[in-house]
Symmetry: C2
Subunit: 196 residues, 2 copies
DNA sequence: AACAATACGGAACACGGTTCCGCTTTGGCA
DNA sequence: TGCCAAAGCGGAACCGTGTTCCGTATTGTT
């Protein structure tokens, strides 16, 4: 309890106030750059936007992926928390699954290039991949299980595959007007339904 | 009419024989490296494997993507030509579509990292993207049209979206045992069926 | 055999992530 | 208030890629 009690949301135990200020500046700058140039914007651009050196970024965020995580943590949390809510709100588990997938897809498609960074390979982004999985996989699994338990969907696809499939389908969706990721994902989720 | 009329198969109008030999050596080396290290192997590795300098690669293939195209041209052609055949061989157009998609997916999944390189972005690979589209899109469209004409599938997804969706679903499939791209693609294609 | 055209090798460049280190700022303490 | 060690900072430097450039070697024609 040594600081005045306001935290920036993340685990900000750092001591010096200029460091804290810079951390926030960086998050803002990154968010701004991500919006205009996409998630794959060069670190140097973010540093420039924040008016700091590149070293500063790496002291606060061990790797580019960690910065991305930090920027989108709130939204990922929101997405994760929405899962259980939808399950109680929606008429059927499958409907809840559909809604949740919509949320997830909107999130991915909205953030320029985020989806492309979720795939297993693309070195340097294991952290990001792991974070998304850690946080969202259980939620997706819960929805999937509920839908399975209610007999609405056929088995054979687990939450991991579904999430990777959705993530993959969203790649490049924002930069190609001819490609509608939402529709394809919807098709996929519809395909989960029991044929009966 | 100055040359003796033997060509290596591709548009090889180049004159000097060492150049032709090197071109073939490069194709073989590239094919070999792609198998062991994936399509994203560094140009220098391919040059080393072929025992030539990097400059030589770029004289024969303007860009890395062109080398990839050259290596896989045969298989892409085969895939393209299989389309019409399947249409006459299979009992229904939808079955033909399924078979063809299987072929395409096998091709993508087999070649380490090829799928990842088909997306619209990933600068430097526009050539490859364009080639795949030019060659395979008409085939896919023909199959899709036939299936639509026979009333087996519902409209709303065009060939372009289907191909991009399939390509995306195949990304990373070879490096992740927990992910079965074939199954997801099958789900997608199954989802095209008319609900009735 | 000589020479011009062609091709070659690999150093050099552009660009992106990441590391390193000398300098600056901060904040506790006298 | 002034001092100083610790914490933080900037950005040059490093590494790995794709790509370009140019001096040199090879080819084949006269």
């Amino acid at each position: 309890m040594n600081d005045s009690g306001h935290s920036t949301g993340s685990a900000a135990g750092s001591k010096r106030k200029d460091a804290l200020r810079n951390q926030q500046t960086l998050l803002d700058a990154a968010a701004s750059v991500f919006v205009t140039s996409g998630v794959e914007a060069p670190v140097r651009d973010i540093a420039a936007e924040a008016g700091v050196g590149t070293g500063t970024i790496y002291r606060h965020f061990p790797t580019r992926a960690d910065l991305i995580i930090a920027v989108y943590r709130h939204q990922v949390e929101a997405c994760a928390e929405a899962g259980p809510d939808l399950l109680t709100t929606c008429p059927t588990p499958h409907a809840a699954l559909e809604r949740w997938v919509d949320l997830f897809v909107d999130f991915l498609v909205t953030k320029h290039g985020l989806a492309a960074v979720l795939r297993t390979d693309s070195s340097g982004f294991e952290t990001l991949h792991a974070y998304f999985l850690d946080r969202l996989l259980p939620v997706c699994a819960q929805l999937l299980d509920a839908a399975a338990a209610s007999g609405e969907i056929r088995p054979g696809i687990d939450a991991y595959q579904l999430m990777r499939g959705i993530g993959n389908l969203c790649i490049g969706a924002e930069s190609d007007p001819r490609y509608d990721a939402r529709r394809l994902v919807a098709l996929l989720v519809a395909g989960l339904r029991r044929p009966s």
